[in-house]
């Protein structure tokens, strides 16, 4: 027998449901408990960047919206820098943007929204420019291990065409599952997205 490596094993994932809201967004569960709550609003008045709304839903294999799903997003600031010490890229930090948000779907419509800013392009470790994107993590009843995906922006066609991650998707038609569509509504910029858990339009999910 060779020497043992003695690595520990990652703790097994379990579903977040059925009542993920109790712990993570208790106001949606119907009660007020914490002095400070995490929310789907990532911006403060001082945050740099273009204000946008991300609005979407997650559909199951029957095409029905998940009305008990929780999404978290993680994104760079307007200059393309994450608010984390491990990002040492050239983009300037923004003390007024944590870059993380958490939102639950509406119990009736299934819609999830985030108020945030459009992220800048980041530079990967090979020095390549990556198209602006938002990292998304999805948990719900029936999802045994959180799903990772990304949202890109429909008005970034040239950047998307050159993005190293989008180009990893061999079936080019599936790249469209990661593109949020830009519209304007009541003076607000809204990017709409649909995450399909199954079916011909199944979203590309990542093993990160």
């Amino acid at each position: 027998m060779p020497q043992p490596l003695n690595y520990l094993k990652e703790t097994a994932s379990q579903t977040a449901g059925p009542y993920v809201h109790i712990g993570l967004i208790p106001a949606m569960a119907g009660f007020d408990i914490f002095e400070k709550n995490f929310s789907n609003v990532l911006v403060t008045p001082n945050t740099q960047g273009e204000r946008i709304v991300l609005e979407g839903k997650v559909l199951d294999g029957s095409g029905s919206p998940l009305r008990d799903v929780l999404l978290e997003i993680w994104q760079a600031n307007a200059a393309g820098r994450y608010n984390h010490p491990a990002d040492r890229s050239a983009g300037a930090p923004d003390q007024d943007f944590r870059g993380w948000g958490r939102g639950g779907s509406d119990f009736d419509s299934g819609l999830v929204t985030f108020e945030t800013i459009k992220p800048g392009a980041i530079i990967d470790k090979m020095g390549r420019k990556c198209a602006p994107h938002v990292n998304v993590w999805i948990v719900a009843r029936g999802i045994n291990i959180g799903l990772n995906t990304r949202l890109y922006f429909s008005d970034e066609e040239a950047a998307n065409a050159a993005d190293p991650v989008l180009n990893l998707i061999e079936q080019s038609a599936r790249r469209a599952t990661l593109i949020a569509k830009r519209t304007e509504r009541a003076g607000k910029v809204v990017y709409s997205f649909t995450i399909n858990l199954q079916g011909p339009e199944e979203t590309v999910f990542f093993d990160v």
Binding site: T11, Y82, R98, I122, M126, N144
Partner: protein
């Protein structure tokens, strides 16, 4: 754009120049999915329509995955880790008082410091304080059922609560969940994000739970079962259970010119 292979680096030095370590790109160890429940697990019926059927796209960690939100004490209130007090209105919650404690570690055995751990649970009767929960067990007016803590410099966390009750659910006609507490953990990078559940040593519902048995590996399942820890209990007050949580290991990353985790 430079596609050249990077030069071989000395694993002991862990310095960016002249020999940055091959363990120095900050990426996480590949997740061993055999330790985790598969997405499609028909015995847990809710997974059938909610499981992707295409292969996941393998993505080498980039700065998007090795970074993640940073939390601090400003995010927490003083009672957040005391579920016996944080929703009390006119008395203590009903139930067996317990302390839950442990460490958040990574796969190399190092404590994960200053990371946010959130937890939520049913009350002692097995009822959640949630507007969608209609189980016949009563709501406890003095129990909210959620809390959170930041780990200390060594990855240690603790909180106080009452032991949750088991409850029935609509999977098979007669399915019951063992007593459990949900945990959400962040780690240092978004790719470490994990939600899991802690179960209690000796619970006879563990082997027959359709959710728990989605885990294919018996050792992985056993690691979700917290043992009774009498040494950490408070005599004539609370029993204690120990629950360690392991997040993915990480190749070294640099924080403000200092190598982390070496």
């Amino acid at each position: 754009m430079n596609a050249q292979a990077p030069a071989l680096r000395d694993p002991r030095l862990n310095r960016p120049e002249p020999f940055a370590s091959p363990l120095g790109d900050g990426g996480f160890f590949q997740r061993d999915r055999a330790m985790h429940p598969p997405a499609h697990a028909p015995g847990y019926k809710s997974s059938v329509l909610r499981s992707p059927r295409q292969a996941l796209l393998s993505l080498e960690n980039s700065v998007s995955e090795i970074t993640g939100p940073v939390f601090g004490h400003n995010d927490l209130g003083p009672l957040d880790n005391d579920l016996i007090r944080n929703y009390a209105k006119d008395g203590d919650p009903v139930g067996e008082r317990i302390i839950v404690h442990g460490r958040v570690l990574d796969e190399t055995g190092r404590g994960v410091p200053n990371t946010l751990v959130e937890f939520w649970q049913a009350n002692a009767g097995g009822r959640y304080r949630h507007k969608k929960d209609t189980y016949l067990a009563p709501i406890d007016p003095n129990f909210g059922g959620c809390g959170r803590a930041l780990t200390d410099d060594t990855g240690y966390y603790y909180f106080r609560t009452v032991k949750p009750g088991p409850y029935p659910w609509r999977n098979y006609v007669n399915s019951w969940r063992p007593a459990h507490i949900h945990f959400s953990v962040f780690g240092s990078g978004f790719a470490q994000r994990l939600i899991t559940q802690m179960y209690f040593e000796g619970d006879p519902l563990i082997p027959v739970c359709p959710i728990l048995t989605t885990i294919p590996d018996k050792d992985a399942l056993d690691r979700l079962v917290a043992p009774l820890d009498l040494n950490a209990s408070t005599p004539f007050d609370s029993l204690a259970y120990r629950f360690d949580i392991v997040l993915r290991g990480q190749r070294s990353t640099y924080f403000e010119n200092r190598t982390a985790g070496n």
